[in-house]
Each structure stands twice: as C-alpha cells, then as structure tokens.
Amino acid sequence: MSNPIIDPKNLVYEKSKVLSDNTMHYCPGCSHGTAHRIIAEVIEEMDRQKETVGVAPVGCAVFIYNYLNVDFAEAAHGRAPALATAIKRLNPEKLVFTYQGDGDLAAIGTAETIHACNRGENIAIIFINNGIYGMTGGQMAPTTLEGMVSSTCPNGRDVAIHGHPLKITEMLALLEGTCYVTRQSVHTAASVRKTKRAVRKAFENSLQGKGTSIVEIVSTCNSGWKMTPHQANLWMEENMFPYYPLGDLKDK
C-alpha cells in the first residue's frame, strides 16, 4: 500500500539531522525527547552544529551526548553551569548551553546555578522541570508540588515538613546577570513552536554576550508520576501550570 503523497518532494517536516538516529533511552512519551528535538532543530537552523558545546547533567538526560550530534562535556551532578562557565570563557565564540533537570539544577546544583546566573555568564540554561528526580526512582525534588505524591513523599508533599516548592526560575530572574528568563512547555504543537523560539533567543543571547538565559520547560515524567503520557500532560496542565505559569519572566 504505497501512498503517492509520501514522496521526498512533498516533505514538510522531519527531525533535524543534528538529532542522531540512536533510539533514545527515555520512557515512551517523556518530555526530554521533545526538548532534545527542539534543541537539535535550533542548532541546525542557526547553522552552529560544529560551533556548539553542550554540557550534560546527571539525571535521565545524562546520555544527551548520544542523541545530539554536537560537542558535549559531562558535568558532575549539578555542576553544569560551572563547567559551562569555563568552556564559554575559554571559547567565547562557541554557543554554550547546559541541559539540566530540576534535581540537578535546583537541588544539588543550586549554588552553581545561582552564581553562574549572577555572574551573567554568556551561556544558555535549558531547565527541565518535571517536579521529581526521574532517573533515581521518582523521589521528591525541591520543585515537587504541595500534595504531589512521590516515592519519598507517598502521602504527598507536606510544606510543614518539606518546605514549599522552589520557584527557582523566579529567583534567577531577579539576578542582574540574567538577560532572558522564560518558562515554556512541550506538550502541544503550539507550545513546541513557542519553546523553539525561546531556545533560539537564548542561544542567540549566548553568542551576543548579553548574559545568562534560562529556558525552563515544565515537563512530565510519566513513569515517575505513574500515569500514561497523555494523562501526565493533562495533569501537568491542571497542576503544574498554576504554580509554574508559562511565559517570559524577563527579557532585556
């Protein structure tokens, strides 16, 4: 059964070549894959494949260097902004970005994150906030919502015991060194288009030396949340977005 429309001359969309053909190890429906795909498209459109250095996190995205065909360095847990600082200062002409989960960026790496942003390092930070530690079994993260169940708060996060969910992106927007701080998502075609524009702006800022850019992507970890991918998207809209509202927090 061949379909005559399926012909290279009619092609209107395919994944970027900057994204490798390796099968990603992520769970089906995981937001990490969509975020990787967007980054690959932006690097291709900016024609920067040979002039980009990514810094990989510890977390589910630890193998991002197997999926994006650009140079990569692997940081110790949470230290990606410190490593990216060195890479960018030594190679000012490169596009340098970190890719970090909420456990990496907002727990163990809080100090590195805040100080890199405060120094205004000319890097882009892509921040995947799925509200838990995905890789290690879905433990509570600083970003876990009040009442949200995780493997280490099976009765839901209790702010009296665990504190409030950390809005680290709002904190980073207050720092003089950040030039662009935005919060996006990747669960619909429209949100993917917006996130792509945000990543592009963040990457251009890195090249123009405007300071630190942060693109938070409110994400799902459907395995950790124990939902189907679609249920997780709906849950995210209903529960994550009110606390982590989408849109630009700073653009200077």
Partner: protein, 74 residues
C-alpha cells in the same frame, strides 16, 4: 480553492507507542497498531489517511522524532 492533503511516515521501529501524536492530531488521523515492533511497542499509523492535512502537529510533539510529514496541494 486548492485542497490540501497530507500524509505521515512513521519510523515504526523507533516509535514507542506513547500515544502523544494520536492525541495531538486535530483530525483523528492516527491510531496505535494492534501489532508490535521488535521492541514490543504498538506503533502509530494512519487509521484515517484521507483526513490528514499535513499540519505536522504529530511530528512536532513526537518525543522520538519518528514522524515525517508530507503535504500536497491538489
């Protein structure tokens, strides 16, 4: 007015059957297969190919970059 027709080609071996494209399609073109790929996943396919307009919503939300989208004006 020219009629726009679309079609998608799914990399059925890399597809993990997450169902996100099925939910994202505004024209209910896609469904998950009753058979499985070598990794044991059901995969996305065009159940109603005539309804596709080549909008690429499915390709944009696919976490694994498995979908190529084609479009013609008739």
């Amino acid at each position: 007015m020219a009629k726009i027709k679309g079609a998608v080609l799914v990399d059925t071996e890399r597809c993990k059957g997450c169902d996100i494209c099925v939910q994202a399609c505004p024209y209910d073109v896609l469904a998950l297969s009753k058979t499985f790929n070598t990794k044991g996943y059901a995969f996305s396919y065009m159940l109603h190919p005539d309804q596709c307009i080549g909008c690429a919503s499915c390709g944009l939300v696919c976490p694994d970059g498995c979908i190529q989208v084609f479009k013609v004006k008739e």
